[in-house]
Amino acid sequence: MNRFIALAMLVVASLHAHAEDWSQFRGQNGTGISSEAGLPVKWSKTEGLRWSMPLPARGVSSPVVRGGIVYITCSSGALDNRLHVLAYDVKTGKELWHRQLAATGGTNCHPMTCMAAPTPVADDSGVYAMFATGDLAAYDTDGTLRWYRSLVGDYPSITNQVGMAASPVLADGKLIVPMDNAGESFIAALDRKSGKNLWKVGREREIGWVTPLVHVYEGKTEVIMSGRGVVTAYYGETGEKLWSQKGTGPSDIASATFQEGVLYSPGRGGTTALKAENGTFKELWKSPKLNGGMSSPLVYKNIVYAATGAGVVNAADAVTGKPLWDERFKGKASASPLAGDGKVYVFNEKGLTTVLKAADKTEILAENDLGEETLGTPAISGGAIFIRTDKTLFCVGVK
């Protein structure tokens, strides 16, 4: 028996030792896919958890995990103008540090969202946390403030009265900051050490919530940014506009994903699959059924999944766009679906996760209810799923 226990401990330890980081919105490369095995199937508020921690305030951003630390943002106060960045030990859930900022931008937004809407991005040195107020701070892993910027202070016309939610990402060692809004709209690359602009490129004055995609094409890092009706690629090194394509139905809400050289671009009329060819994009197919609304599409094992606000998961063949199946889940989704270990996770707004088998036929493996508002997309790392609700950060996984 002792051998079995030792073996089990070894397996768990190895899972922890080889934990895959989940450093940004929808994980590495923004795919929403984990390559880890042994991901959880069943859990509740009292079972199947490694730990849970009460959060100081609400947030709809995702947790991110890097180097054994879970980073998360929250916002609080009568005017939602107190901003929080927290770090937790990934193994125990112990709070490592908690830093606060006062909002320097406006806090008006749709009641569903809040100022802690953009997801932070982490690297080995720490975390870069942005808020819907345009407040942006970089902290070292120990909570040391490396730099801070008030983007609304820098560019006072920035405005999005619905509430901003696009998340920063990292590309070629630079911090990429998307700032599509109704005032001074731009995308910029900031120096990670100083927070200063390396390049800044103007964009259409349109509000948007899309997180940029980073893609390497022929050795060149492209930062791909969708806006209403147009997708544009910028050279990561200089910000030079490399290409843009109109009329392909890109979204200003959900974020695109790249798989096998194909850009799956969500839009208000569904998802479009685009293949790069000779400096332009060729439309492979378009599926009105794959319309996730606020949630971004998932492409996993050659199947595209879209979890809709109407409470349906639609699955389609990633090569042809042909519908495979649809399955009603309880409630509706704001968070984007995730996948790993042959499973697809769909999160509803009330805290219920439907676990589906990743297959060309529908099969529900489990329904797991945490019973708390869940609008942010969770994270997967170290064999665990990190689900942030409006009150709690849950680490779901085998102990």
Binding site: R99, Q100, T159, Q161
Partner: protein, 378 residues
């Protein structure tokens, strides 16, 4: 007052003794020097490390440094205090309560710093913190004021005597500044058979002269100065959309929060600009906030000078979502609001209207008279 100095002196002589190798003024100066687009960030980061590394003794210089700090610098300082407090807690050292209390009670200190000090006290001793709130219903820190008012409301809950409740709630209503608390107290005052005038308390402008619709092809009107921006003459006849002639027309809104529904008053128009004019009389020069809400693009002019503009359409509206700072001169002042409608066809994008209030920097009433002419001038 002597007690406060003693409290600070005790801190200076306590285990929080200054580290000789830390140049606090220089560290603070570096942080307060941060500028646009990250200018000075490297020096500020070094200063931040010095403050946090200095331990508890850096707490009060950092709190004091909020005086005159820019919003950007204040966030550097706020984060430094988080770091200092965390390190002291980890080291098992308590923060000096007496000195923190003295800092909170000194209302000349920066509001943000006083609130932080209050929260540090609350983290160590909630009872002491709650005790401090008893004298703070009129505090210049809106966060402290809010908590103090909320605590007073709680205290009044077991009381049923109207004679006691009416003056108590009226006093709290007069002190309230946050819109939700104002509304809550207005209801309590009325329940206690008193009268609470939200419109007046919040300073909404209710009497206007309206002119429009001016033609705004392709939304160009936002950047086009129509005649009312050049001079206000209530007798002027204008030519607007499709050659229509109109003059200034008086309008008085009875809506509690001063909302003017332009669709109802002027009619439904697209690609249109409407001006709203109000005259405000004050006895002496007064620095004020102009706080507006609108689903439409909007500009605010005070005595001919533009003090605010926001070109954003149908992304939601909220009380006080727009803030312009300005000064009313002694005597009569001309307030002009330009409201622009675009051509969106969605059902939710048909709203055309605005609200404007004039208040002090805390959102409180300023002594003023609305003297907008109420007659039609033809």
């Amino acid at each position: 007052m002597l007690g406060r100095y003693l409290a600070v002196a005790v801190v200076l002589l306590s285990p929080f003794a200054a580290r000789a190798d830390v140049d606090y003024p220089a560290a603070i100066q570096a942080i307060k020097a941060v500028g646009r687009e990250g200018a000075g960030n490297e020096a500020a980061a070094a200063g931040w490390k010095q403050l946090v590394g200095g331990g508890g003794i850096a707490l009060f210089p950092t709190l004091k440094a909020f005086d005159g700090a820019s919003p950007t610098a204040a966030n550097w300082l706020r984060s430094a205090i988080d770091g200092i407090a965390q390190a002291e807690k980890k080291a098992g050292r308590k923060l000096p309560m007496e000195a923190l209390i003295a800092f909170v009670q000194e209302s000349q200190n920066a509001s943000a710093a006083r609130r932080i000090a209050f929260e540090l006290i609350a983290n160590q001793d909630k009872t002491t913190a709650n005790g401090l709130l008893e004298s703070m219903v009129n505090d210049p820190s809106l966060e402290l004021r809010r908590d103090a008012i909320a605590a007073e409301i709680e205290k009044l809950k077991p009381i049923s005597a109207t004679l006691t409740l009416k003056p108590a709630y009226e006093k709290l209503f007069a002190a309230s500044r946050d819109p939700d608390q104002i509304e809550q107290l207005a209801k309590l005052v009325e329940k206690a058979e008193g009268k609470a005038d939200i419109t007046k308390h919040m300073g909404f402008i209710t009497k206007w002269q309206l002119a429009g619709p001016f033609d705004s092809p392709m939304n160009a009107g936002f950047g086009t100065p129509y005649p009312p921006e050049k001079a206000i003459d209530l007798a002027t006849e204008f030519t607007g959309k499709a050659g229509a002639k109109f003059t200034w027309t008086p309008n008085e809104t009875k809506q509690t929060y001063g909302i003017v529904d332009l669709n109802a008053v002027v009619g439904k128009h697209k690609h249109a600009v409407i001006y709203a004019f109000a005259a405000i009389d004050v006895e002496k020069e007064t620095a004020v906030d102009f706080r507006a809400g609108s689903q439409n693009a909007l500009q605010i002019f005070v005595n001919g000078k533009k003090i605010f503009e926001r070109e954003e359409y149908h992304h939601g509206t909220k009380l006080d979502q727009h803030l312009g700072k300005g000064t009313l001169t002694a005597g009569k002042n001309q307030i002009l609001v330009k409201i622009c409608q675009n051509d969106q066809s969605e059902q939710w994008a048909q709203v055309f209207g605005f609200q404007l209030r004039i208040c002090d920097h805390l959102g409180g009433p300023v002594p003023m008279q609305i003297v907008t002419p109420t007659t039609t001038n033809k």
